[in-house]
């Protein structure tokens, strides 16, 4: 997953598409209406600078190495979190250089898992990006 700030419009659609995809529901209104979303991708912005940040799925992920429980692991290239193992110790939060891991509503850590469970193929954020600022491709 690559983010090209040059084309990011700061529309925040990626955050909503992420939250929608995570909900597993078929209708975005039903999924998100009246809720504060906790997306796994976040748009950081200031003035005219915007860009989205989510897990970069590092080749040599320090979060996985630092994980006390083995909840974080690399599964065919994607860094995934096993909610059952995670005890929410925050070690990964203190290690991730992108700030891409955060506690979920109910404790265990949440992070971008490339929609492997939810959306087949392209992750929802990239698929929904109106300006090709988020691309999902082999490089």
């Amino acid at each position: 997953m690559y983010v090209n700030e040059k084309w990011c419009l700061g529309c925040h659609l990626c955050e909503y598409n992420c939250a929608f995809a995570e909900s597993g529901l078929s209708d975005m209104v039903k999924a998100l209406k009246g809720r504060a979303i906790r997306p796994r991708i976040r748009v950081e912005e200031r003035g005219n600078v915007h860009y989205a940040v989510s897990c970069r799925h590092c080749g040599d992920p320090v979060c996985v190495k630092g994980c006390l429980t083995g909840a974080l692991a690399v599964k065919d290239g994607a860094v995934t979190v096993d909610r059952k193992r995670c005890v929410g110790c925050l070690t990964c939060v203190a290690l991730c250089p992108y700030g891409a891991i955060s506690p979920s509503e109910d404790g265990p850590m949440q992070k971008c898992e490339l929609c492997l469970e939810t959306a087949a193929g392209t992750p929802a954020c990239a698929a929904g990006c109106p300006n090709g600022a988020i691309v999902y491709e082999e490089r």
Binding site: L9, C11, N17, V29, N48, N131, G132
Partner: protein
């Protein structure tokens, strides 16, 4: 405070059951129509600012938005439409000339829609473009008047400079300044991939785009902006702009606030100074002057590049074109009155010029009557909206067509006709970096390539249906056309028969 006579043209209809307050609409509207109200905890809108560009509607992830015509109705009558009345109020407010953008929106006849295309039955087989070769390659340029042979009697095959098009469709002139850098990049890259040409318009050529030179037509207009030797040499052809269909007889005016950075450098005028293109070229007051400019440009480029003369479709277009054909021009581009523009006085746009269909038919026939049709190529522009329009134009006698508005639509334009405001929400007709970045050329160029590729497929289908497998055999083949609901006179000018004849 005085009465505001200008009522909102549109109504923003938001379905609050669907709205999830993601605020995309707010973030994407450069006209500041939408805003989130903390206290009310919902989105509100100021419709008076809405130009119906559909950006918010298109990006709303829950399809919660609709932009509707304001149902509020003036006491209209056959003579006084709401539009006419509002225009009067606006001028009474400002005392100014009404400005507008894009093509003539008024209810003038669209002859393309009154012309039907033929197909083979029985006596002549239609040809399946999926099985048989179907040629749309087109060459634009002059033709030699006599054959020459060498000592052994072999033909000497040297030709005047030609443009080679893989598809009979080119992107018409849109200047850098009137449209964004990203729009230009999209057009340039698409032209290169499609094997056709785009046109710099009168704004000069940005240094980054010299590499697309082999697919670029560089324009020389009355303002002479950005014209220098390297510029002329960079292009594959040079176009002299005598007129533009959207505003025949007047020049152009790009306000100083748009002349910033790259644009001022590319146009070679100081930042902030208005870019004014005079109505006439001040060195062309008649046809012999045009001939001089044509040959000056040819000489400046060592006779290596065809010269196009672009003229607006006006009443005596046939005679004008005949003159231009004899002026040394290799290609004549005719721009019809429905052609687009970045900004034009509304009255001019809506009341000056004639339809491209009639102009094209008249010019082609006139050049044939004078036996000089094959001295020049004809390019028709001014609202070619589909492959069918293109096929009809070619059958009427065009060698190729120019598309401008259609190309912009492919890039996202929704014809809100507010280009002159410079706040294009689609990142096309704007120079504000925040808006311009909304058009990612990687996406834009691919959409242009798709559009033209699709049109070319359809053109081949139609040709095959007519039993024609080469575009030359369609060119000027008016028997392939029939009119419906047209008067004798219209049919006569178009040089076609009525359906059923």
């Amino acid at each position: 405070m005085p009465i505001n006579y200008i009522l909102p043209e549109f109504e923003v209809r938001r379905d609050y059951d669907r709205c999830i307050c993601c605020r995309v609409c707010e973030r994407q509207c450069a006209n500041l129509v939408h805003r989130y109200d903390e206290d009310a905890g919902k989105m509100l809108s100021d419709e008076s600012k809405c130009v119906d560009c559909q950006r918010c509607v298109t990006l709303c992830p829950t399809r919660a938005l609709k932009i509707l015509k304001n149902e509020n109705s003036f006491r209209e009558n056959g003579n006084w439409s709401a539009r006419t009345m509002t225009e009067i109020y606006r001028q009474a407010d400002t005392g100014g000339v009404l400005l507008s953008s894009m093509g003539n929106p008024s209810e003038m006849p669209v002859y393309w829609d009154r012309i039907l295309i033929n197909a083979s039955q029985v006596t002549n087989p239609s040809i399946d473009p999926l099985r048989e070769p179907m040629e749309t390659r087109t060459y634009l340029g002059a033709h030699p008047s006599e054959m020459r042979r060498d000592a052994e009697g072999r033909l000497i095959t040297s030709l005047p400079p030609h443009l080679e098009l893989d598809v009979p469709i080119m992107f018409s002139a849109m200047s850098y300044g009137s449209i964004s850098y990203n729009a230009h990049e999209s057009l340039a890259r698409a032209a290169a991939e499609l094997g056709t040409f785009y046109n710099t318009g009168e704004g000069g050529l940005h240094e980054d785009f010299y590499k697309y030179g082999p697919n670029t037509i560089v324009q020389v207009a009355s303002g002479r902006f950005g014209v220098h030797k390297a510029y002329l040499e960079a292009g594959a052809a040079i176009e002299i702009k005598m007129g533009q269909g959207a505003k025949p007889g007047i020049g152009g005016h790009l306000p100083g606030k748009k002349i910033v950075g790259d644009i001022s450098r590319t146009r070679m005028i100081p930042e902030g100074s208005d870019a004014i293109s005079p109505a006439p070229h001040h060195d062309i007051y008649s046809i012999e002057d045009l001939r001089q400019l044509v040959y000056s440009l040819k000489a400046a480029t060592e006779y290596k590049k065809p010269v196009i003369v672009k003229i607006a479709a006006v009443h005596n277009i046939a005679a004008i074109a005949s003159g231009v054909a004899r002026s040394g021009a290799d290609i004549i581009a005719i721009d019809g009155f429905r052609g687009g523009t970045g900004a034009a006085p509304s009255r001019i746009r809506d009341n000056v010029g004639i339809p491209i269909e009639l102009a094209l038919a008249a010019v082609d026939q006139r050049l044939r009557d004078e036996g000089i049709r094959d001295r020049v190529s004809l390019v028709a522009g001014g609202s070619i909206r589909s492959s069918a329009d293109a096929v009809k134009a070619i059958a009427l006698g065009a060698d190729a067509v120019y598309i401008g508005t259609a190309a912009l639509l492919a890039l996202g334009c929704h014809l809100c006709r507010s280009c002159h405001a410079g706040k294009c929400n689609w990142g096309i007709a704007t120079q504000e970096p925040e808006l311009a970045k909304r058009l990612n050329p990687d996406i834009g160029y691919a959409r242009l390539v798709n559009l033209v590729t699709a049109w070319n497929r359809e053109i081949k289908e139609m040709m095959g249906g007519m039993g024609i497998n080469s575009i030359e055999a369609l060119r000027g083949n008016r028997l392939m056309l029939r009119g419906v609901g047209l008067t004798e006179k219209e049919l006569e000018v178009l040089g076609i028969k009525h359906a059923g004849e």
